[in-house]
């Protein structure tokens, strides 16, 4: 029965990712960074990511909650997700701190020479961890797409264009997931 409860908990967390909203948001993030790089407007990504965050919250309220209701995940689950986010932020901070080291520091050269690899690992890793945390397999594919997009720019250049393409791919996949969700869970009259 313990295992059955674990499966049920996984299913509950997974159900909230069936709406594709976070997929679209993940795609938008990659797209926004790519767009910002191509146009050379550094704050554009920040604006788009912030607007996207507000959009996902409104979309959950308009699309998800009326269809499958509202749940609060267990605190332990939330703590796990917070730990993942903290880990990603910590890694980002570490890279930043490495760049603050003196010019002669070999660690700085090591990181600088492999900068794209580190970005690809952190970004792709964060998406993969989110997939692991919510038990959503398609996130592993997204992680690979983003990882590939960043790594390909190591050989082909044009990081911005690669991120735009990767972002569009993830957003299109997210839209398909959302359409399936809307068809699967039509809004029924509520007594809430």
């Amino acid at each position: 029965m313990v295992d059955e409860l674990k499966i049920l908990e996984k299913r509950m967390a997974n159900r909230y990712m069936e709406d594709g909203i976070w997929d679209i948001y993940l795609g938008l993030m990659a797209f926004a960074f790519g767009f910002g790089i191509v146009l050379d407007i550094s704050y554009l990504a920040a604006i788009m990511v912030s607007v996207g965050f507000a959009f996902q919250s409104i979309a959950k309220n308009m699309i998800t909650f009326p269809r499958i209701g509202y749940i609060k995940l267990r605190k332990a689950k939330k703590r796990g997700m917070a730990a993942v986010l903290t880990g990603v932020l910590f890694l980002g901070m570490m890279i930043f701190l490495v760049f603050m080291l003196g010019d002669e520091n070999p660690v700085r050269y090591f990181v600088r020479d492999r900068m794209l690899f580190f970005i690809a690992v952190i970004w792709g890793g964060a998406i993969a961890l989110a997939g692991l945390s919510f038990h959503v397999r398609r996130y592993f594919a997204y992680a690979l797409i983003v990882f590939g997009a960043v790594m390909m720019s190591e050989w082909m250049g044009s990081l911005g264009l690669n991120l735009i393409v990767a972002g569009l791919l993830v957003m299109i996949a997210g839209l398909f997931v959302m359409m399936r969700f809307i068809r699967k869970y039509p809004i029924t009259p509520q007594q809430n």
């Binding site: 029965m1 409860l5 509950m12 959950k60 309220n61 909650f65 209701g69 749940i71 007594q191």
Partner: protein, 104 residues
């Protein structure tokens, strides 16, 4: 020895929590056990109960002190959120342990 086991099983069966021991309430308790709370829309969808039946079962659980019913606002929209109380969580854990004991 086999006689002893059936005595203990008989004791466990009579001791079983009747509030939880109905399919509808057991299902509601099981769902709420793995969450910190869920609204009525979610519970209706997950349990497959009708609005009326769900309402009655949740009320029964509330009267037993196993669940809390709160009106919460999420993004300015009201949600009737049902969550297990500590007493409800303990009762469900005991129920699981008793069932495990009986089925062993």
């Amino acid at each position: 020895m086999p006689g002893e086991k059936s005595d203990s099983q008989a004791f466990s069966l009579s001791d079983i929590d009747r509030v939880i021991h109905t399919p509808a309430r057991l299902l509601i308790m099981k769902i709420l056990y793995v969450l910190d709370g869920a609204d009525m829309v979610f519970l209706k969808d997950e349990t497959g109960l009708t609005w009326g039946n769900l309402s009655v079962q949740v009320k029964n659980l509330e009267q037993a002190g196993y669940v809390n019913i709160n009106k919460e606002f999420v993004e300015n929209k009201p949600h009737t959120v049902v969550s297990l109380t500590t007493q409800g969580r303990d009762a469900f854990s005991n129920y699981r342990a008793q069932l495990k004991d009986i089925l062993r």
